[in-house]
């Protein structure tokens, strides 16, 4: 569904679908995981049909997320290679947060913050999968010392990941015109030119 033929394509349908599989898995995992994490969140287990179902489903959803994340990772890892321009952008991230992005260095398809987010999430994912397997008693039997370590790693990493996703989501909300990239796959040229000028130039061939 094309809204404006001049809009720029940012994500293909496959990419978007992939992202949302990861995203939905994450939401399910976060909700169910939080239920086990702190008594205050335990009522969230009701969303899954109670604590036992939450316990049963969580790791399987985790597998889904791990697999879909892996696909996503291979799709985007090359695009997320850090460059000197990213580092400079990152060093001036304060200006960006302050809402003063006019003088920020030119960015390609992803800015330094997005790339950092990408790698941080990838690391979290790796840790969550490894520690999650350790804790998955239905299928795995590992020494209790390892499980204890796994539990701490899993909980801590999950907390970090949830925080990162908060930032990820907020950034998408904050930067107007962004979310549609994951809904329809396109962004406006103005959006691209403002936030990812190098990418804009690259895809439009304009200055």
């Amino acid at each position: 569904m094309i809204r404006n033929p001049k809009d720029l394509a940012r994500y293909t349908a496959h990419e978007r679908a992939n992202h949302w599989v990861v995203g939905i898995s994450f939401i399910l995992l976060a909700l169910s995981g939080l239920a086990f994490f702190h008594p205050a969140f335990f009522p969230l287990a009701q969303l899954f049909g109670g604590g036992t179902w939450a316990r049963i489903l969580h790791p399987y959803v985790g597998v889904l997320m791990a697999v879909s994340f892996l696909v996503l990772f291979f799709r985007f890892s090359a695009l997320n290679a850090m460059t000197p321009a990213d580092r400079e952008w990152l060093s001036r991230v304060g200006e960006m947060v302050d809402g003063n992005d006019h003088d920020m260095p030119e960015q390609g398809k992803y800015n330094g913050g997005q790339k950092l987010m990408f790698w941080a999430l990838a690391l979290c994912m790796l840790l969550l999968v490894a520690s999650g397997i350790v804790m998955w008693r239905a299928w795995f039997d590992v020494p209790v010392g390892v499980i204890r370590l796994g539990a701490v790693v899993h909980a801590a990493t999950a907390a970090v990941m949830i925080a990162l996703i908060f930032v990820h989501v907020y950034a998408a909300i904050w930067v107007k015109g962004t979310i549609r990239a994951m809904w329809y796959g396109t962004v406006t040229r103005a959006w691209a030119k403002q936030h990812h000028r190098a990418w804009y130039r690259q895809v439009t061939g304009k200055s």
């Binding site: 008594p39 109670g50 809402g99 925080a163 103005a190 030119k193």
Partner: protein
């Protein structure tokens, strides 16, 4: 459980006080290893009272059977042949839940009300609330709870809380033929243990003593050991057990801190939006592009 619902000191995954108006005497099971002949009557009694029957297994080349605690074997005898200074000893220990004053299982449990600690010291699993995550196993310093392969719930010795609630001793105590198992008020059990330790010392066991490890706040199942200085001799009874620091971290400070941190990020984002406003595409750029299009 109506009787017991008034004297709960701790309830898993619950941050508010449990019904605890009723005070009861702290109880304890005392296992006098020096009087235990390893007859497994306690195992049989446990099966009978709780109406559970484990698998008929195989012989693994030792007297132990079943070989380990299971969801259907809440207590097992462990046999250790120890030869020290030319003297052979057959150290036989009844293994099972220690009913810690500071129970790692309860601390780790995420399911509200799946694990209770009564004022009398008994730590009880209420399987109907158990979600089967196995965190209790992760939390236990003695490696006691076991998940059932059949129903996915965790099981362990209840110290016959149902019997104790109506003034009966646990089934294993009732069945023990030699009096190696004793049950009563914890204070009384400690006095009794003192007598036994004194007797053992008079027989040359200078290091005889009571196993009531302070690392878990003491236990409501205690051992009289001939070699209290070497509990590991008794089929790896842990020396100075405590809740793992990892478990404390996981289920201790981490929980509120991380919750606060997440709340902070969420609120931070909100206020950022409110204070800084949305980051919209600049009007200039849009106009610029419109002009280009108009050309």
């Amino acid at each position: 459980m109506a009787l017991q619902s008034l004297d709960i000191t701790r309830r898993s995954a619950t941050t508010t006080p449990a019904p605890s108006v009723r005070q009861t005497t702290e109880v304890a099971k005392l296992i006098d290893v020096s009087a235990c002949i390893g007859c497994k009557a306690c195992q049989a009694a446990c099966m009978e009272w709780n109406d559970i029957r484990d698998e008929i297994g195989t012989c693994h080349g030792v007297y132990d059977n079943p070989m380990d605690l299971t969801a259907k074997s809440w207590t097992v005898m462990r046999y250790a042949e120890v030869e020290q200074d030319g003297r052979l000893e057959w150290l036989i220990r009844k293994d099972g839940c220690m009913h810690c004053a500071d129970p790692g299982c309860l601390k780790a449990c995420p399911a509200p009300g799946a694990i209770l600690q009564y004022a009398n010291g008994i730590v009880d699993f209420h399987e109907e609330h158990c979600i089967g995550c196995g965190y209790c196993i992760t939390g236990c310093p003695f490696n006691i709870p076991r998940l059932s392969k059949e129903d996915g719930k965790a099981y362990k010795c209840s110290l016959c809380s149902d019997r104790v609630a109506v003034g009966q001793a646990p089934a294993c105590i009732k069945a023990c033929p030699t009096g190696a198992l004793q049950f009563g008020a914890k204070e009384q059990m400690k006095h009794y243990a003192e007598e036994r330790i004194h007797d053992l010392q008079s027989r040359g066991y200078q290091k005889a003593g009571l196993y009531d490890p302070p690392g878990v706040g003491g236990t409501h199942v205690m051992y009289v050991l001939h070699h209290a200085d070497q509990p590991e001799l008794y089929s790896r009874l842990p020396n100075d057990p405590g809740i793992s620091p990892l478990v404390s971290l996981w289920k201790g400070v981490a929980k509120p801190l991380a919750t606060l941190a997440l709340a902070g990020v969420a609120l931070g984002s909100l206020f950022h939006y409110v204070t800084k406003g949305p980051n919209e595409v600049s009007k200039e750029l849009e106009d610029e592009l419109e002009k280009e299009d108009a050309k």
